[in-house]
Symmetry: C2
Subunit: 485 residues, 2 copies
């Protein structure tokens, strides 16, 4: 594939995505089978109402990912290997030993690598900035500055900016949760929300059940708060093993659980509603706090409705629901929230001690954006794009990584979770890749017990540009080399 001197614009990239995604779906659904001729460039131009060069570029992308192949004078054909989707990783097992967490150093090292502007950000979990409604937000922001010039310069009240809390309460209905604005506390991102939730509901030395694997940002917080973790078996399709949590609760081995029920990071799976309901009932019955991180809840791939939150099943107020707009509206605006249920008072006390005020300017711009609409339309486009990108990256991994590599088929969210053969060291891959300006998140980050050393998490929310494709090829090469030695 020739180097493109001028990188394509965000709009162009979106068009490539659309065409390539369309063809990939046709192949995945079996409409196009190995050996089938795919529609000609001209025909596809008409079908998709795009330019010839867009189709040509999209087909080249599919070709470089090993999905299709060009045959001289005949056109493009589906490759034999195309439908061999990677197998999913195996389910993990529980380990009832409480563990001290020790991921902060490696987590900091990852942040360091990600801080370089040159690095390919496969180690993050964030889409290209072009996917966010930045122009619209900036317009709303400028309007706010003109109409209420003082507003953004005042100290906020501890609960947070009231109009935003109202909009959040309205959105939470879609997640099945009825929460009043007075039961919502805004925070500086979901990270602060989860930290304060853990702080509000637990004492140092307490033990918390976590999914295995779980997001290292959660483990980081357990470590810094002096909490211990118990890893609970999790399935890449259905999430955490509720029976295992029930046993831990009955045996009084845990004082809380932290769960990403919608699109676990890194597994990308969604817990079924029945499992969600049972989990909440178990925690409720044992009067244990359940901290929910629902940051990817709006980013479901199937065409259906937004999945229920655990909070939807919370009759007794034991769920501390944490979320933010960092994955849907803007990572940089730092607007998150918590609905801490019966822990509201201690949550507020912790917030006042730590950082009593969130920027009103940011909160008011987000509130206005939610209020005047456009969010749902934006979400529909975003979900489709993320789904296409996840699928394309899975293909790309399948093409370039060692043959034995397994990969999740995420049901939502922004990451792909790869399992390499036993003995593979993803920390070594991480360091070798960093030298080549490529970031990945090594698997050990997702476990307090040094599990998942042969796993890697990839950000599949970034545009599959030539640069990203080259990075995947390079990662595959490094992985193969390591396995060969």
């Amino acid at each position: 594939m020739p180097d493109v001197a001028v990188p394509p614009s965000a709009d162009e990239q979106r068009l490539y995505d659309r065409v390539a995604g369309h063809v990939a779906r046709l192949i995945e659904q079996g409409t196009l089978r190995p050996g089938d001729r795919i529609p000609s460039v001209r025909r596809m131009r008409g079908q998709m109402s795009v330019s010839l060069s867009t189709v040509t570029h999209a087909y080249r992308l599919l070709e470089s990912r090993g999905l299709i192949e060009a045959r001289p004078k005949s056109g493009y054909f589906v490759r034999d290997a195309a439908i061999r989707v990677p197998l999913p990783p195996k389910a993990s097992r529980s380990n009832i030993r409480p563990l001290r967490v020790n991921v902060a150093r490696l987590s900091r090292r990852l942040q360091d690598v990600l801080a370089s502007p040159e690095v390919v950000k496969l180690g993050a979990a964030v889409p290209d900035i072009e996917l966010f409604p930045t122009q619209r937000l900036n317009r709303l922001f400028s309007q706010m500055l003109r109409r209420f010039p003082d507003l953004g310069h005042r100290y906020d009240v501890p609960l947070g900016y009231p109009p935003l809390r109202k909009e959040i309460a309205r959105r939470m209905i879609d997640a099945g949760a009825e929460v009043a604005p007075a039961d919502i506390v805004t925070t500086s991102g979901a990270s602060e929300a989860v930290y304060l939730a853990l702080h509000a509901a637990l004492q140092p030395g307490d033990t918390v059940a976590v999914e295995s694997p779980t997001y290292f940002g959660i483990l980081d917080k357990l470590e810094t708060l002096g909490l211990k973790a118990i890893e609970v078996a999790s399935d890449p399709q259905t999430g955490v093993d509720v029976d295992a949590i029930e046993r831990l609760a009955e045996e009084k081995r845990i004082q809380a659980a932290v769960i990403i029920a919608n699109f676990n990071n890194p597994l990308g799976c969604r817990m079924p509603d029945a499992a969600k309901r049972r989990l909440v009932e178990i925690m409720s019955q044992h009067q244990l706090p359940l901290i929910e991180d629902d940051i990817f809840g709006e980013l479901h791939f199937d065409s259906g409705v937004r999945p229920n939150a655990l909070k939807a099943f919370d009759r007794d107020g034991i769920v501390l629901y944490c979320c933010s707009f960092s994955k849907t509206i803007s990572p940089g605006m730092r607007v998150g929230w918590c609905a801490p249920g019966i822990y509201l008072e201690s949550f507020l006390q912790a917030k006042i001690a730590l950082n009593p005020a969130v920027s009103i300017a940011m909160q008011s711009a987000v509130a206005k954006y939610l209020e005047i609409g456009g969010f749902d339309l934006h979400l529909r486009r975003l979900r489709r794009t993320l789904q296409d990108r996840a699928r394309q990256m899975a293909y790309s991994v399948h093409q370039h990584f060692p043959e034995e590599t397994r990969a999740t088929a995420p049901q939502g969210g922004q990451v792909l979770w790869l399992e390499l053969p036993r003995g593979f060291d993803s920390v070594q891959l991480f360091e070798e890749a960093a030298e080549r300006n490529i970031s990945v998140a090594p698997g050990v980050l997702f476990s307090p017990g040094d599990r998942f050393r042969n796993f890697v998490r990839l950000n599949c929310a970034i545009q599959a540009s030539d640069r990203v494709e080259q990075a995947i090829i390079e990662l595959g090469r490094l992985a193969k080399r390591q396995l060969a030695t």
Copy 2:
């Protein structure tokens, strides 16, 4: 004094302040003595280049504060009582018993009262919004949105926005501290900076030396982090007793100290340079971290240069210097920082765990404001205004509070600290005042050991409007009534 139907504008209020402050200074310096006739309204109009009505209004303010009195047909005269400045409170004593802190509940109650838009905010430590350069900041903000539309929507790097760290490093030279941009970490306000500094340098159960009294925002953090506090004797003129800290360090009773060397909140005093130097040397010698809160450092009242920070004397990197722009540029923008010295690495790890990113939009607007100048001019005006307001509020307290009331003569900052007779209960005053939509900060908030129950902190950075004057009169009445029963 007649009710004014239309409240004066911010510019008008500033003019009243200027004229009233000028006359108050003449009285305080002894240029005008009790019984002296003060310049006529017409003459003052010429001297100050203001309107007749401005002078009239300013003279009425001075009259209502008991500084001057009108004599029919003769003009205004300095009252006999005018120069009886309240005596300062007595110095506190040390208590070497480590105490668990328990102020969060009352601190939350104060935040609750302050959250009401109707309340007179004498319980806060923040000036009227009119004193901040909001228009200029908003212009810079809008420019930034136009020129770099994506910038504010990206995740920040852990250290913080580089151009801002460069500007901060430049400003810290004025505080005598040479710190490289790479040794500065930006935070969401000074509150987060102090929290992370304590977290980075200490373990739960450790004991920290604090000034007696000290800011409840610090005590709140000790409480939430499971740290104990030892109260160290402090003098309302010279600050903390360094000998006492030396003994505590020698006897290994403390693992750190948190000090507000420049304009202790609530005392308003500044530690002499010699004491600052010795304190840093002592802590350094015992290899103990010294957390400095310098949020009021730029707000010195005397005309001289900005006072040195403790950080200026820090040869070994043991000072974790915390500051923000919330008291000088904008409370709502939530931009603070820490220069954590040798604790940089653990500070960063804690920041990444808690809230890895600060809003780049806010940081870039502040950086631009610092870069293109105007900050120093703004600071000169702000200091003068704050000094005038502090003096006026002291007069007002002297006029309306029980005769035995003592008050600090702050050397900088934004608060006044009042001592009422023994047995007086400021928590009762707090609750009675709250019912009347007036907030004050009760003295017990400033001690882990239930000290200062007969003390009250007042925000002296707000405009001495009729409403504020009425609030002081009401507080004085409530205090007298309580003492009479």
